[in-house]
């Protein structure tokens, strides 16, 4: 039977219309037409503005008739649109009063916050027409991707090994060797899946892929004249649309399919996709920023405002999204549900997530409704939720982020403590916590080891190579007189600032890199590796390359041949972690022998077995994991022993005796002449089973089997 709602009831000029449906928000293809729906609680009128693709001036403006407003939602079906060739926006009128926080301006054309595709920056780096009356243009997406039998992988959190990467940086360098039009795109990542598989990671965390404007605050580099961009994209234009410039097919408007296909292909190879999402602020900036969308639609609802009408700035980026307003909470929830359901995304990492726990006046909430909603949402139920548990307003919640049994955290304390230990500051007590999945932060609250996303380096800050090559940041190329970027790097240059020919320094740096990787991969919790650290990528001491679309940011694939020993070591360590469930416990250690093996699940040692030296300044520690206690005693594994000697002198470590039938084998020794590691399963037996020399600033990992 034919539906009656496929027939128009109204007309405007040549357009046929009828009352739309308020839900879902956004533009949705319906039989015969497109349903447009948008919220504003303060607008007094609204028009739909239609453009032909790329056209300078509108094709038509259709005012919403009064009877097409339901509550605070304008909704209308427009029939017979050539929706593949269409761009749309809105014009809204309403109060304009700075102190009251109202910014309505009918001269502006506004982007739909729910736009699923956004045109205007279709190809990365192509200079926009600054005279354009409408820069970021909503388009209409097909939500009909053929997923076949794909679904999110649901890898147990403790089994994840995350690779943090920037879409463009990963393959933009010509050394990536892929087709030119794929470089720096989602398609490029797909081309490099074999590399990721060989590396062994099982999750990629993509730095922001929601549509952003690389030309936001773009400017010439004062040193070179080269353009500095909003390269990282932590400044969202549209939360429902993938970055067109990251798609090889962006010029055909097919970025949605290209990203979905990437997710599908990664899943096919056992790799999850985590998105780095930025819900703390938008690209509209402060009072002087552009009007793109939210500001002109309902400024007061979407942003946290001071009583004087200024923008609160807890993000450090000009404005702060009013996350715990019920309307805004819903758009965040709608957005994440959309990405989980439509794109099969496996998890989300929330940038400056502490902001999501502030009330509309900026005060931290004890029980933030948004975080609770996300934790208990049925559609997001299997998604990983990872908080960057701090913000630029001074809230620091590592260990205390409102978790509801669901939220994991970027463990900033892990990063800081491992870095300090690595350069010889001691603090073995802190390191013991790091190695165990930070029970000091999480066990008391009943939060699992996998709550702790362990990392030593991330996009913010030094790369691993730079961490061992620089004492200070060198951010001059950012054009801010080296004032940007963190000063607290806990780094050590090993004796010379920057690149050197000194063989001893270079050898020590390599060792330090391997020490860091070894510690990361034997820690309980979830390891996160920064793109390129596996091949010793440098940013020449720049610890904040947010603006560089050049070799400072791009992964140079030649590094594989320059630093093959580092790459091999990382691969081995990842493989070692994957072959040993005892390194991936779902629950915290009990410091007991509850399996009757004669060994507690974890035991601590020093240069003398069974005798760890816990003094503050001590720089060496060893531990043993009992294989009978792997995954809480549910699976059997080998015994693992690791000695971490961050002292400047070689030390003899007495080994704890194994059960009679077992022998210690050497998996890794960063202080040894190459090879410094072995493929798991091929480890040679240790000659002397009672002890071994561990070189200065070296890590030894043994497997008892």
């Amino acid at each position: 039977m034919e539906r009656i709602d496929i027939h128009p009831t109204h007309s405007y000029e040549s357009f046929k219309l009828r009352l739309g449906r308020p839900q879902p928000f956004g533009a949705t293809i319906v039989p015969g037409g497109v349903n447009f729906s948008i919220f504003s609680s303060h607008a007094t009128s609204c028009s739909l503005v239609l453009f032909e693709k790329h056209a300078k001036s509108p094709l038509a403006e259709i005012p919403f008739p009064d009877e097409f407003r339901i509550g605070n939602v304008y909704c209308m079906v427009v029939f017979d649109l050539d929706y593949e060739n269409l761009e749309y926006g809105y014009r809204m009128d309403g109060p304009n009063n700075f102190q009251q926080g109202h910014w309505f301006d009918p001269s502006k054309i506004l982007l739909d916050p729910y736009a699923k595709i956004i045109g205007g920056r279709d190809v990365w780096g192509v200079s926009p027409d600054w005279e354009d009356i409408y820069h970021h243009r909503g388009r209409i997406a097909f939500d009909d991707f053929d997923w076949g039998s794909d679904r999110p992988l649901e890898i147990p959190p403790e089994d994840q090994i995350i690779y943090e990467m920037h879409v463009r940086s990963f393959t933009r360098h010509e050394s990536s060797g892929i087709k030119e039009n794929h470089r720096g795109t989602f398609a490029g990542i797909r081309d490099k899946i074999p590399y990721l598989k060989e590396l062994g990671v099982n999750a990629v965390e993509l730095m922001p892929v929601y549509e952003f404007d690389e030309f936001e605050n773009s400017r010439p580099n004062p040193q070179t004249g080269e353009t500095l961009y909003n390269y990282w994209g932590y400044s969202t234009v549209g939360f429902f649309a993938p970055k067109a410039g990251y798609a090889a097919t962006g010029k055909f408007g097919m970025q949605v399919d290209e990203l979905k296909n990437l997710v599908k292909e990664l899943h096919k190879h056992g790799i999850e996709v985590i998105l780095d999402v930025v819900f703390n602020h938008t690209a509209e900036g402060n009072e002087r920023g552009p009007t793109i969308s939210f500001r002109g639609i309902d400024n007061k609802t979407y942003y946290m405002m001071t009583p004087e009408g200024y923008y609160f700035n807890f993000s450090g980026c000009g404005n702060t999204i009013n996350c715990n307003n019920p309307i805004v909470r819903n758009i965040v929830l709608d957005c994440l549900r959309y990405w989980a359901a439509e794109y099969h995304i496996d998890g989300f990492r929330f940038d400056l997530a502490s902001i999501l726990g502030r009330d509309p006046w900026g005060y931290p909430l004890a029980n933030p409704p948004l975080l609770e909603s996300l934790a208990f949402d049925p559609i997001l139920a299997k998604c990983k939720l990872i908080a960057e548990a701090w913000d630029a307003g001074g809230l620091y919640q590592v260990g205390s982020f409102p978790a509801y049994g669901r939220w994991a955290e970027w463990n900033g304390k892990y990063r800081d403590n491992i870095r300090k230990f690595l350069k010889g500051d001691g603090k073995v007590g802190e390191i013991a916590q790091c190695l165990q999945g930070s029970p000091d932060l999480y066990a008391w609250a009943g939060r699992a080891p996998a709550t702790s996303i362990n990392f030593i380096t991330a996009h913010d800050g030094f790369t691993l190579m730079d961490l061992v090559s620089y004492n200070h940041k060198h951010n001059e190329a950012n054009g801010e007189n080296n004032n940007d970027g963190s000063n607290d790097n806990d780094s050590w240059n090993c004796g010379w600032e920057g690149e050197t020919d000194d063989a001893a320094i270079n050898a020590l740096r390599r060792r330090q890199i391997k020490n860091a990787i070894a510690m990361l991969m034997i820690s309980q919790g979830v390891p996160m590796l920064l793109m390129g650290d596996e091949v010793g990528r440098t940013q020449n001491g720049n610890n904040n390359t947010y603006c560089h679309d050049n070799e400072l940011s791009w992964l140079d694939w030649h590094l594989q041949t320059k630093n093959p020993d580092i790459l091999e070591f990382v691969k081995h360590c990842i493989a070692f972690r994957k072959s040993h469930p005892v390194l991936r416990n779902p629950n915290h250690f009990r410091n007991q022998d509850y399996m009757g093996s004669g060994y507690a699940d974890i035991t601590w040692h020093g240069t003398k077995a069974w005798n760890a030296n816990w003094s503050e300044e001590n720089q060496a520690i060893a531990f043993m994991l009992c294989g009978k206690h792997a995954k809480g005693g549910t699976v059997e594994d080998n015994y693992i022993y690791a000695a971490l000697n961050m002292h400047w002198q070689t030390q003899w470590f007495e080994l704890p005796a194994l059960p009679q039938s077992l022998r210690w084998h050497v998996f890794a020794n960063t202080g040894a002449i190459l090879p410094s590691s072995y493929l798991p399963g091929t480890e040679p037996m240790l000659d002397n089973q009672s002890g071994l020399l561990v070189g200065d600033r070296s890590v030894v990992i043994l497997v008892g089997k």
Binding site: E84, N85, D146, H182, A248, T249, F252, M254, D257, N261
Partner: protein
């Protein structure tokens, strides 16, 4: 969009000439859908299709679904290099058998 039909033995050969986008895709769908019957063997020659939009690709996938439901077989012939690349990165290519020439296409359907 110009559409021609011929038969080579049991195989239906449809030759398309022109872009396939939101405005022409419905014509292609209508034309081909009317041919689809159980166990159909269909060759779609796209040597003269310079551009296919997202809507065009969806049309092809929808025809593929119709044909496989009827236990038929579809082969695409003469896709341009650019089109192959677009179809590959967006996942459409995985569904289709493609060949360079009509002869190879007929052989694939034989």
């Amino acid at each position: 969009m110009d559409i021609k039909l011929k038969s080579v033995g049991e195989i239906q050969v449809v030759e398309l000439d022109g872009d396939i986008d939101a405005s022409t895709a419905p014509d292609v769908t209508k034309f081909v859908s009317e041919l689809v019957k159980p166990h159909i063997r269909l060759l779609l020659d796209m040597t003269k299709v310079p551009y296919m939009s997202s809507a065009g690709l969806r049309t092809l996938l929808s025809l593929y679904r119709q044909i496989t439901t009827k236990e038929g077989k579809l082969v695409l012939v003469g896709l341009s290099e650019g089109l192959i690349d677009t179809m590959s990165v967006t996942g459409f290519l995985d569904f289709f058998i493609t060949t360079l020439s009509q002869e190879e296409g007929l052989a694939a359907l034989a």
